[in-house]
């Protein structure tokens, strides 16, 4: 220990810390300033940015003793330093202009990157309050965000600068939407926004408990091996080690899994290691360092087994078997779509195009690595709720409690309880804020291990994964090989598709079967396809498991479908937009699985909007202005062209899976309400959606609704946050719970005012008799519910009424009648049917068209996306600001999928070990984006809304490769695009490349 003296946000500290501390550790763990985040520990992501003596640094690799005697500023100091008001008496938090701008422009989603961005941006604005886009991008070039797609961040920095210069902050520019209601269709501020911009937001690693121990996980050295022996004696003997656990220590079910119970809590004993991420032992110790050290002392004797790492090899009869007890061997699932008669279809076709496409394994790269913290039953301290609802903190049950940022809290509870041999009710899962999920936080990570550690040691145990561990361990997006054959008539009418997909599902089932089912059912694209024969083989291999990832398999098949379509258009000499227009799904058409689309198909309108905008676009370049936007043009060494693609994506689980969510609403005598459901908030602003639905139904101001999510003791089960389902399913549960509450209050108030319940209206915190409606009612016709099926208010001025009381008094009236102020509503989404039955597989689909203007440097092969024009049919925009965030974030993620991302594994051993080796798009790759919203409401969705979380990242990748082909005549059959291969193909006049970056 050495003494470190430094001044943080104006306060001097003298600390005894080991000389090997990094500044981020001192701030977070020694000073409790957890606003500074750690996303990578390798100077890659910028989450840990703080200011030292006026200069920004990545504090994760900054030795703390470099800051000896220095002035350090962190996010926590930003608002406070400005909080002095004129009269000096106010203690209200005054936000820095950047903090306000980040809120108002939607630049914070999961919020994990936000402190780093704000700190880094202050260094720019301090010097130059009027920065250009280019200067902003240079300043933030190594600060990464996985959620927003950066445009909102750029806009925020500009807005903050403008505020600093002029004293007024410009509003966010939003896409136009249909007429809003009082809460629906409004760009309302996220309920968690202030916490996220001030560093007060707490993620799992930000919690500490008295007596807390730290766990570290030993993982397999081999992609496939029997584990003969595990010798933990030396590790146990190490001072500070409290337990070393292996497969022998699991009291309950030794395996877990979301769909199939095939994933061992620990490999060892009868379970071989099946990929290098498999856990073999857990060391629990006084400090994280000691736990790591203990891992080095564990001796494991492996018997290496042959590994299979290519899904096609895995299907061979002589392939090494991963799960020998499975009757279908390595075949996780053969998924089939059959429609019409493909042979006839191809025979009738004038033209047939067939290609094989490949997509890589990709990584969610959420900026917050996984962390789980378990507090044992019998723990004497308190287990704080993460809810901000007044009174939530009083609820403390003496149960084994797991804090975790998870997409499916109830599933975590089930899996933890089962492996620990407990009843579900003996476990509480409390969801903390999540620094992004994107599908990668659905499976169990450290939850069971932490719970086991806590149970064995009787002390709280935290397990935080390093970025490296996160990369190795968690399920990825399936790599696929897709052979697809498309047949059409000369006039462009599509007739038939035949496809064969191989999906690498890795070592465990995870959601692999579901994901590849979606890839298969969507492999016709959003087009009318009379004949289809699609076969998909989801295979077990010794690679990392593949599971859910935004797009859920459709990202992959859309790349193949939309590429083939452009090849077809070229061979037919047809405009690619026209070819799509001829075939797009419309109301009344049928999907390839036999579902008739009866409503809410806004695809054609999306196509029209996008095409119109390209044709009128000024960036279209000289040659394309009036005529053909798909023709390329050259400026300097760069060749430009537009490319287009369409896509669709189901909302909800579908395929016959019961899809329900339960929400609970409670009203309080202080005039507020609470809405509770376990659905996960991972950055998408579900909490805002839930609050808006509840506020709309109860006629309350948005801020009067407290939202509690992700707590298995306090919130009913909202089901998984997956399949773009939460806005629809949990939004509906919240809406209908609140509506039931409103109806109950209407009944009570009707009696009080001696009138009909239907004329009791709620608006802006008041309950009143709607005299106008009453008059109408007396005039014979009984009105249905108010406009848009809500409570009669459209957000316009409050109608005059002499009979009104406050919402608080309305609640008192309810209580006086001995009615319960709490209602639970279990919402069941419309029934769906399994694949193959010909029934409706899904209750709603979202649609999108994306067009990308791409430049290819003909000297170097470098590809850049310059502009993206998109249109999304989302049914209804509940919150246009958050919706835009989902769209822009999804598009930029799709750009990464096309151009940069590949999780590379060589013979079962990951090459991609660090974040620096997995480049997600940075701010410099963000194109100018024009995003249109199309609202074809779906009858059962909340106010007409359907999902948007995934569709936004689906058509963009093929739009980019289509644009590349339009620009330079080279078709990329594999992702991500490799500038090296592209340049050599241009030079050698090759028309197609199936080389991609990372090819081994």
């Amino acid at each position: 220990m050495t003494q470190l003296t430094l001044t943080v946000n104006g306060t001097e500290h003298a600390l005894d810390v080991p000389p090997s501390r990094y500044l981020a550790e001192v701030l977070r763990y020694d000073l409790g300033l957890t606003g500074t985040k750690i996303g990578c520990d390798e100077a890659e992501c910028g989450c840990c940015t703080v200011i030292v003596d006026g200069q920004s640094v990545d504090s994760c690799i900054y030795p703390a003793f470099k800051a000896q005697g220095a002035q350090v500023s962190t996010i926590e100091g930003l608002a406070q330093t400005r909080s002095c008001s004129q009269n000096g008496s106010s203690h209200a938090l005054e936000l820095h202009p950047l903090q306000s701008a980040f809120i108002r422009h939607g630049a914070t989603q999961c919020g994990f990157c936000t402190p780093g961005f704000i700190m880094q941006a202050t260094t720019l604005l301090d010097e130059n309050p009027d920065p250009s886009d280019k200067e902003i991008k240079e300043c933030l070039k190594d600060t990464y965000c996985r959620c927003t797609g950066y445009t909102a961040i750029i806009n925020s920095v500009k807005a903050a600068g403008e505020y600093m210069r002029t004293g007024t902050m410009p509003e966010a520019e939003l896409p136009s939407v249909i007429e809003p209601l009082s809460q629906i269709g409004q760009p309302l501020e996220r309920p968690d926004a202030v916490d996220k911009v001030t560093g007060a937001a707490l993620y799992t690693d930000d919690y500490t408990f008295d007596g807390m121990l730290f766990g570290a996980t030993l993982r397999s050295e081999h992609p496939h091996a029997h584990i003969r022996e595990i010798d933990t004696a030396a590790a146990r003997a190490l001072e500070g080690v409290h337990a070393v656990l292996t497969h022998a220590d699991v009291p309950g079910d030794p395996r877990h899994g979301l769909v199939e119970n095939d994933w061992p809590v620990f490999a060892g004993g009868r379970f071989p290691a099946r990929y290098v991420g498999d856990a073999i032992a857990l060391a629990v110790a006084e400090t994280a360092e000691i736990a790591q050290q203990a891992l080095g002392l564990i001796r494991v004797e492996y018997e290496a087994l042959p590994a299979v790492t290519d899904p096609r090899d895995a299907l061979q009869p002589d392939a090494p078997q991963l799960h020998p007890d499975r009757p279908t061997g390595n075949l996780l699932k053969h998924i089939k779509v059959r429609q019409g008669d493909v042979e006839q279809g191809f025979a009738d076709a004038d033209i047939v195009v067939e290609r094989t496409y490949r997509t890589p394994m990709t990584e969610h790269a959420f900026l917050e690595p996984e962390c789980a913290l378990a507090v044992p039953a019998g723990y004497s301290g308190s287990r704080p709720s993460t809810s901000k609802e007044p009174g939530a903190s009083d609820h403390d049950s003496d149960k084994l409690t797991v804090y975790v940022g998870s997409q499916i809290p109830y599933s975590d509870r089930r899996q933890v309880a089962k492996s620990l041999g407990l009843a579900d009710e003996e476990v509480r899962v409390i969801g903390t804020l999540m620094g992004g999920g994107f599908g990668g936080k659905e499976d169990i990570a450290g939850q069971i291990h932490a719970a086991l550690g806590a149970q064995v040691t009787g002390r709280p145990v935290k397990i935080l994964y390093s970025r490296q561990e996160s990369l190795i361990f968690h399920p990825k997006r399936h790599s696929t090989i897709i052979r697809i054959k498309t047949g059409a008539m000369r006039d462009g009418k599509l007739l038939a598709v035949e496809a064969e997909l191989y999906g690498d599902s890795g070592a465990y089932a995870s959601l692999g079967e579901k994901v590849m089912t979606r890839a298969t059912t969507h492999a016709t694209g959003p087009y009318v396809m009379p004949h289809a024969k699609i076969d998909c083989y989801a295979m077990y291999t010794n690679n990392a498991p593949s599971g859910a990832f935004r797009g859920f398999g459709v990202t992959q098949s859309a790349f193949a479908v939309e590429s083939n379509l452009d090849i077809l258009a070229a061979e037919l000499g047809m405009d690619p937009a026209e070819l799509r227009r001829k075939n797009v799904m419309r109301v009344g058409t049928e999907t390839a699985t036999g579902q008739e689309l009866i409503e809410s198909v806004g695809l054609l309108e999306c196509l029209d909007l996008v095409e119109e905008e390209i044709r009128t676009s000024e960036d279209g370049g000289p040659s394309s202005l009036s005529s053909d936007p798909w023709t390329s043009f050259q400026i300097g060494s760069k060749r430009y062209a537009w490319g287009i693609a369409a896509g669709y994506k189901n909302t909800g689980l579908g395929g016959g899976a019961p899809d329900k969510s339960e929400a609970e609403v409670e009203v309080f005598a202080d005039g507020t309400a609470a809405i509770r459901t376990s659905s996960a908030e991972m950055g998408q602003n579900l909490v805002g959606v839930l609050a808006a639905c509840t506020a709309q139904e109860l006629g309350l101001p948005f801020e009067k609704v407290h939202v509690t999510v992700m707590d298995t003791d306090l919130t009913p089960d909202g089901g998984p946050s997956t399949a773009s389902r939460q806005t629809y399913v949990s939004g509906n549960a919240a809406r209908l719970a609140a509506r039931a509450m409103r109806q109950q209050m209407q009944t009570v108030l009707a009696e009080k005012f001696d009138t009909h319940p239907d004329v009791i209206a709620f608006h802006e915190g008041l309950a009143y008799v709607d005299e106008k409606r009453l008059a109408q009612m007396h005039g014979a016709e009984l009105p249905v519910e108010g406009a848009n099926g809500t409570n009669g208010s459209t957000g316009k001025a409050l109608p005059q009424s002499i009979r009104s009381i406050s919402f608080a008094d309305a609640v008192n009236a309810l209580l006086a009648e001995n009615r319960l102020p709490k209602i639970r509503y279990e919402y069941w989404a419309p029934q769906t049917q399994p694949l193959g039955t010909g029934g409706d597989m899904h209750f709603a689909f979202s649609y999108a068209v994306h067009a990308a203007l791409v430049s290819v440097d003909t000297d170097t092969g470098e590809v850049a996306v310059e502009r993206v024009i998109s249109a999304h049919d989302v049914g209804r925009a509940i919150n246009p600001l958050s919706l835009l965030g989902q769209i822009e974030g999804g598009i930029v993620m799709g750009i990464g999928n096309a151009l940069t991302e590949n999780y590379i594994v060589e013979n079962g051993i990951p090459w991609t070990e660090r974040l620096g080796q997995y480049k997600m798009p940075g701010i410099k790759m963000t194109p100018k984006m024009d995003s249109h919203i199309v609202e074809h409401p779906t009858a059962d969705g909340p106010y007409g809304a359907k999902g948007v979380g995934e569709i936004s990242s689906i058509p963009i990748s093929p739009a980019i490769t289509n644009a590349i082909c339009n620009a330079v005549g080279v078709r990329c059959l594999a992702l991500p695009v490799d500038q090296d291969a592209l340049l050599l193909a241009m030079r050698d006049k090759e028309r197609e490349i199936d080389g991609h970056w990372g090819q081994t």
């Binding site: 200069q55 900054y62 240079e138 050290q293 590949n902 590379i904 990372g998």
Partner: protein
């Protein structure tokens, strides 16, 4: 990863060297740490017991004009280089090459000395310095300071020739001559590799008519195990009667011929790099010659 046990921040060179001498191979110099710490975390470097932080040494981050040389302390950060008016006027190839390293948070702490000492053949700062024909001052325990050519300190990829108790103290190069100009450019790929596919820095001096290249220095990385000077290309340029397309193409051919290009997995094929030598050399020579033509009467630089 286990970690170091002691962290020293000496304020004089003598103190730093005596610490290094005292702990021998148990000690390691740290400057910005942006290479060293990452290497240690990734277990590519052995973790030393003692870190000797050289960035608090007085004068280690200086930029000065001394005895007709422009002198840079080895601890100067890339941010300081980028924002130095003197260097912007005198050494564009250096401000350009250091200006593209990492992002601001990295450049605020990463040093030129660390970039050079890390000894990667494609290190951007090193390539910029090489085109300036820089010399490096090595300080050794016992006060043995000496200047030597930059290229002489590289032993192989990631290996320099410094003894454990020596450190890089400073770099120096001559101010820009009349009718001289320099430039740097590089090719990156957006995927998961931090180092450039190829980087080239060039410095040229033109004759009085501004037509012929009288003197040329061309640095390329990576084009061999250590930072590389394309002497063949330099000769091709100075041998030409005029700076024209033919002269440039001859230089390109000579550089392609002489460079030892490799296919590095996930970074670039040999073939691609060969093409990039042409692309970059054309771009960089064009820029350097344009600057040389503008630099007819160089502004006087004063000692700072």
């Amino acid at each position: 990863m286990s970690r170091w046990r002691a962290y020293h921040t000496p304020t004089t060179v003598a103190e730093a060297l005596s610490l290094l001498h005292q702990h021998k191979d148990k000690a390691r110099i740290i400057a910005g740490g942006t290479d060293l710490i990452l290497d240690m975390e990734a277990e590519h470097a052995v973790v030393p017991e003692v870190l000797v932080d050289v960035t608090k040494i007085a004068g280690i981050d200086r930029v000065a004009l001394e005895d007709g040389w422009i002198v840079l302390g080895a601890g100067i950060t890339h941010t300081q280089i980028e924002s130095s008016p003197l260097l912007r006027a005198q050494a564009r190839c250096l401000t350009e090459s250091c200006g593209v390293i990492g992002g601001p948070q990295v450049r605020n702490v990463a040093t030129l000395g660390g970039n050079v000492a890390h000894a990667l053949p494609a290190a951007d700062g090193t390539i910029g310095l090489l085109a300036l024909e820089a010399e490096v001052e090595i300080a050794g325990h016992g006060g043995s300071n000496r200047w030597q050519p930059l290229l002489s300190i590289f032993a192989g990829p990631g290996r320099n020739r410094l003894a454990p108790d020596q450190m890089l103290h400073a770099f120096r190069f001559r101010p820009i001559a009349a009718r001289a100009g320099n430039a740097f450019d590089r090719i990156m790929r957006p995927q998961g590799v931090a180092l450039p596919v190829l980087g080239i820095a060039a410095r040229v001096r033109l004759d009085a008519d501004l037509r012929r290249v009288e003197d040329a220095v061309i640095a390329i990385g990576p084009a061999g195990p250590t930072p590389f000077r394309a002497s063949g290309a330099e000769e091709a340029l100075t041998a030409a009667a005029e700076f024209d397309d033919a002269a440039v193409e001859n230089a390109v051919a000579a550089a392609q011929e002489q460079a030892r290009l490799r296919t590095s997995k996930y970074r670039a094929s040999q073939e691609y790099r060969r093409e990039m030598i042409g692309v970059l050399l054309r771009r960089v020579l064009q820029a350097a010659v344009e600057r040389a033509r503008m630099n007819d009467a160089p502004t006087q630089v004063e000692d700072t």
